[in-house]
Amino acid sequence: MQINVTVNGTAHSADVEPRTLLVHYIREQCGLTGTNIGCDTSSCGACTIHMDGESVKSCTVLAVQADGSDIKTIEGMAAADGTLHPMQESFRQCHGLQCGYCTPGMVMAAVGILNENPHPTETEVRQGLEGNLCRCTGYHNIVKAVLHCAEGASK
């Protein structure tokens, strides 16, 4: 089936099987492998992307369901000149990662939290990240990074 989506600002048109998962479309057909597949059961959040501005788990969306939507992946976060998105910069400053596998999903989920609630409490950040697992258990610095980014935005 033919689908048309915008991925990181670029229009894409593709013929996909109805059973193609959005994460496979993004990784294999768009070639954007920054979005990771972790648990593949919508538990871990590694595959989190933005669909029409909201965080979703791309392992549990069919590409045909995303037809017509505006997709943003981790590759679309930094500016064209390489300047990191403030959330990426905050993860860097606060060392909000260890092995890095969950990081793309964490960043996308974290940006999603601040889109809906620009000044969250620490508890709200932790609750907002309940759908993202870090197997290194590096949650403290991830939460710090999100709060750091929110503080930066308020200055």
């Binding site: 059973r19 998962l21 965080s55 788990k57 309940e130 759908g131």
Partner: protein, 273 residues
């Protein structure tokens, strides 16, 4: 994990969806947000020959004050139920429980109608629906009919929905001024409840629904009647498992579930007193 092959059709309207399911019958499944169905299909526990995608039927996404009840369109997402300003005053138990479904990403996709029609006894919203006896409006080839939530659940993942019917609206009571509680006991934030309780009191009425205490969501009729009749939370909670048929799984034995249900119903009724 990739689902088995299936045909895909996109419904532009409720009428088109009902017509498509009439053509394809048992072989077809409705797809709303997909957050119950797609995981089952990826695990090959479900392999429908056809999916009828309801995601474009935008006019089934709404939350309205309909006078004697609050009408919620079946395709309203958990995120929108959770953050509804109307529900914050008229049915905060529903809004709060919707905020406990899955995680933020799941709530951006999953819908109230999908959750209720999937009929999973471990899900949060079916227990809310039976606690307050929401009215489920379903549409089939011969028009609409209404099914009370307490008559809707028939067995494990089974409901009173006929193969050619679609859930289109859920009508919840206006509980403005009432008291309520939602208790969800689990070991990890986004897990299904090991046991959950939805309870409310309003104008002398009371309702208690149990999550994961049987093959269907359970309406705890005896506890509800006792709570409405003025029994103490502890006394009403003693009756919590009369209608339940708790099952053993990796998380809990029958005895532990029974214990949890009584404790959580007591806490819920204390909070709602």
């Amino acid at each position: 994990m990739i689902p088995a092959l299936f045909d895909y059709a996109r419904a532009g309207s409720t009428e088109e969806a009902v017509s498509l399911i009439a053509q394809h019958g048992d072989e077809a499944k409705f797809l709303a947000g997909g957050h119950s169905l797609l995981p089952l299909m990826k695990l090959r526990l479900a392999a429908p020959a056809m999916l009828i995608d309801l995601g474009r039927i935008k006019d089934l996404s709404y939350i309205r004050d309909a006078g004697d009840h609050i009408a919620v369109g079946a395709l309203t997402r958990h995120h929108d139920v959770q953050h509804s300003t109307l529900l914050a005053t008229t049915n905060p138990l529903l809004a709060h429980a919707a905020g406990h479904v899955g995680d933020p990403q799941v709530r951006h996709r999953g819908t109230i109608g999908g959750s209720l029609a999937h009929a999973d006894a471990a899900s949060d919203l079916p227990a809310v629906a039976v606690a307050m006896n929401a009215q489920l409006i379903v549409q089939g080839p011969n028009g609409k009919r209404t099914i009370a939530a307490r008559d809707f659940y028939r067995g494990f993942l089974e409901s009173a929905l006929a193969a050619d019917e679609m859930l289109v609206e859920i009508q919840f009571p206006n509980l403005t001024g009432g008291t309520w509680s939602f208790q969800k006991f689990n070991r990890r934030a986004q897990d299904w409840a090991i046991v959950g309780v939805a309870a409310y009191k309003h104008n002398g009425a009371a309702g208690v629904g149990l999550v994961n205490m049987g093959s269907t969501p359970i309406y705890a009729a005896a506890s509800s009647a006792a709570a409405a009749g003025g029994a103490s939370p502890a006394d009403a909670a003693d009756l919590a498992v009369q209608e339940a048929e708790p099952q053993v799984d990796l998380n809990a034995s029958v005895a532990y579930r029974t214990h949890l249900a009584k404790v959580l119903v007591r806490r819920a009724l204390e909070e709602a007193s």
